[in-house]
């Protein structure tokens, strides 16, 4: 018998999208001149017009942040800053459905993920760092660690609101003020967050949000009035930022790309490993810097694991991000889709075998079917370059030493996964992996208390946990 799930769309009536948005500077929305459209990647429907901030706008935002830092936020006792952060966290929880729907509309990710993963983590981040605000002397950075001043923060489009939380919460807890630039394809939840700041009576200028593309971001990070630059995004842009701030005295944290290895040993709990592989690469359409995009599976179980993986992939429901039963949503933009296509075509051209489950993709919007490449070698582009899409490269290994060697043979080092029933093998492997996060018998687990960051071209500095405070303190 066939059991077809009827459509179960989440209502979008809960969120009120304005036709156009200005910039959020000094506690108010101010109209700008250059407007551009942000679209729903699942339908290509225009959602709103958003201002692209120029250098002057950025300058105003930085000045507002400076004033707020000098007059209000910097001198404010930690326990009072905490009250604002707790208030913001509670408002996020109260408005979580609205934020989740908006995130799915603007980003294309399934509502199941924005509702069950992104939003709970966003609120948790604010709660967690609210707790630190009055306890900084006990964070291990000296008796009276001081904030840096104005933080320039540039975030990507894959987890728009979550990346905002990762940046804004520790910065404010430590006593900094911020100017944040969301990605040009996903500005809407950041602008709704600005409304939440107003609702929380956050003093004007503590949080400023300037929307725009690369030029806006460059103007922001190169502005002489900022003391700290925090960036999450591509390695290419990260390198440019590192060059531009060199010698300026600005403190920098970079969280860049990844090409994580997910290592499956022959004694792994297979059914759960398959879930972990799926979660590792198809979560958020693979738009995850720490995605488990290289599967390293022990040769003697490779066939068995791949059969199970294919069977599981055939169950993935690709489609309307607002349907509560959707597992894989839309690719965020036409540009990203083109990149995924280019790299996938290169994989096939280089001789790897491409496989996707039968899956009907919507006609409008940006879509890419979940895909695996088998027979991949270390030399293939699909094994080396970050695809940032629902594309998994499968490699095999014989010995644990070979697994580690292959896992580390990448310019990146953000995350890795290990699947085995043997505790000693988990420790042996984790010890040798050069990756900032190593998951054992799970993947893509995040928690505000846990530091996150990379080795090598995956960047430097840590976000989350006690470690995450360091990047925002003068230590």
């Amino acid at each position: 018998m066939m059991f077809e799930y009827a459509p179960a769309p989440e209502s979008r009536a809960i969120v009120d999208i304005r036709s156009s948005y200005g910039l959020f500077i000094d506690g108010r929305f101010v109209d700008g001149e250059n407007l551009d459209k942000t679209v729903n990647p699942a339908t290509e429907e225009v959602l709103a017009e958003v201002t692209w901030a120029g250098a002057q706008d950025v300058d105003r935002a930085v000045r507002a942040a400076r004033k707020a830092y000098d007059k209000v936020w910097g001198p404010m006792p930690g326990r009072d800053r905490a009250k604002y952060l707790y208030r913001i966290a509670r408002l996020i929880q109260e408005r979580s459905r609205e934020l989740a729907v908006l995130e799915s509309l603007d980003n294309g990710k399934p509502i199941r993920e924005s509702r069950d993963v992104d939003l709970p983590l966003v609120a948790a981040h604010f709660f967690y760092y609210a707790g630190w605000a009055d306890k900084l002397p006990y964070a291990g950075f000296g008796a009276d660690p001081r904030p840096l001043g104005v933080a320039a923060q540039v975030i990507p489009w894959n987890f728009p609101l979550l990346m905002l939380a990762w940046k804004v919460a520790p910065a404010l807890a430590a006593g900094n003020t911020v100017v944040l630039k969301p990605a040009e394809t996903t500005p809407l939840t950041a602008l709704l967050f600005a409304e939440i700041c107003q609702q929380a009576d956050l003093p004007a200028g503590v949080v400023n949000i300037v929307t725009g593309a690369g030029d806006t971001g460059r103007a922001l990070v190169e502005h002489p009035g900022v003391d700290k630059v925090a960036f999450t995004g591509s390695t290419e842009v990260g390198k440019a930022i590192a060059r531009s701030v060199a010698g300026t005295g600005k403190k920098v944290t970079l969280e860049l790309g990844g090409k994580a290895a997910n290592i499956v040993y022959d004694d792994a709990p297979v059914d759960q490993a398959v879930e972990g592989i799926v979660n590792g690469i198809f979560f958020n359409q693979g738009h995850v810097c720490c995605a488990g995009s290289r599967l390293l599976v022990q040769e003697n179980v490779a066939e068995q694991v791949l059969d199970a993986l294919k069977r599981r992939m055939a169950l993935l429901r690709v489609g309307d991000p607002l349907d509560k039963n959707t597992d894989v949503g839309a690719i965020n933009s036409a540009a990203q889709l083109a990149r995924i296509r280019e790299l996938s075509d290169a994989g096939a051209a280089e001789g790897a075998q491409r496989w996707s489950p039968p899956c009907e993709l919507p006609e409008r919007g940006f879509w890419f079917a979940p895909t695996i490449f088998t027979g991949v070698t270390q030399a293939h582009r699909v094994a080396r370059e970050e695809i940032f899409g629902p594309v998994l490269s499968v490699l095999t290994f014989r010995t644990p030493a070979e697994a580690v060697e292959k896992a580390n043979n990448t310019p990146y080092g953000l995350s890795a996964g290990i699947w085995t029933d043997k505790g000693s093998r988990i420790l042996w492997t984790a010890d040798r992996l050069r990756a900032g996060v190593v998951w054992a018998n799970t993947f893509n687990k995040f928690d505000p208390t846990s530091p996150f960051g990379g080795y090598k071209e995956s960047g430097y500095g840590r976000e989350g946990g006690r470690h995450g405070l360091e990047g925002y303190l003068n230590v």
Partner: protein, 319 residues
Amino acid sequence: MTATTTSARSDLSELGRSETALRTFLHGLPGVDQVGAEQRAAQLGTRSIKTTAKAQAIDLAIRMVDLTTLEGADTPGKVRALAAKALRPDPADPTCPHVGAVCVYPAMVPHVAEVLRGSAVHLASVATAFPSGQAPLDVKLADTRAAVAAGADEIDMVINRGAFLAGRYAEVYDEIVATKEACGDAHLKVILETGELATYDNVRRASWLGMLAGGDFIKTSTGKVPVAATLPVTLVMLEAVRDFRAATGRQVGVKPAGGIKNTKDAIKYLVMVNETVGGDWLSPDWFRFGASSLLNDLLMQRTKLTTGIYSGPDYFTLD
């Protein structure tokens, strides 16, 4: 996934001959990661089943109910009433399907058989010194034969958990084989009593043991211990029947029993069946719910869907 390949088909039937072979095989099955299994079960529980899909699921769930009463206080009158309800769960609506089976103690089988005779509703009897299984083997087998002779066409047996947990797999195996033989043509459901097995690894091993020994169904629980059916336990059992069919070609059914009280829960199980083993198991021949109060909730939800009106419990029969 199994540790075997399809070519091992004949080998599997030999496993029961030796304690060592059974142990090696069962302990060679891939482990179950508790956190991962529970997470997957929870994730499947977030599926949103609405409108037409919900109506389809409710009717299917009704057809899968093993309407059960297993109380010392059961009387011939009570079980006859239950059997009548099994035939026509909603007297007000002739389109409502009948349930899968009625499940009672052996002594009650003749009374139920009178009512069910000639219908498509199966008659299940627990046997083998249910629920503890603490009786000599010949008593358990006599119990089974008596139930079949009285008209039961499905037997729900309990495994010897003491022997299983002590690692005496051959003893458990032999008991199941003997019970299966005593069943004759009746279908055998093997109750693992997963609440007493404690780990998912044990659930997977016991599932394989039950199937290797010839069980037609594997069933979670007696309903008589504090922890009955759960979604993760059922997930592990579904994975076992899927892998067993891949290895041997024989399909085995699954029956979660105990603690499934409402439509929402039942639909979560159906989603799990759908996304773990697929449509082949979405039939009363291969999946059952051991339940009593579940049926009335299904009927209430069914009425709500068809009429738009949510009726109170007094509009549905008690048993």
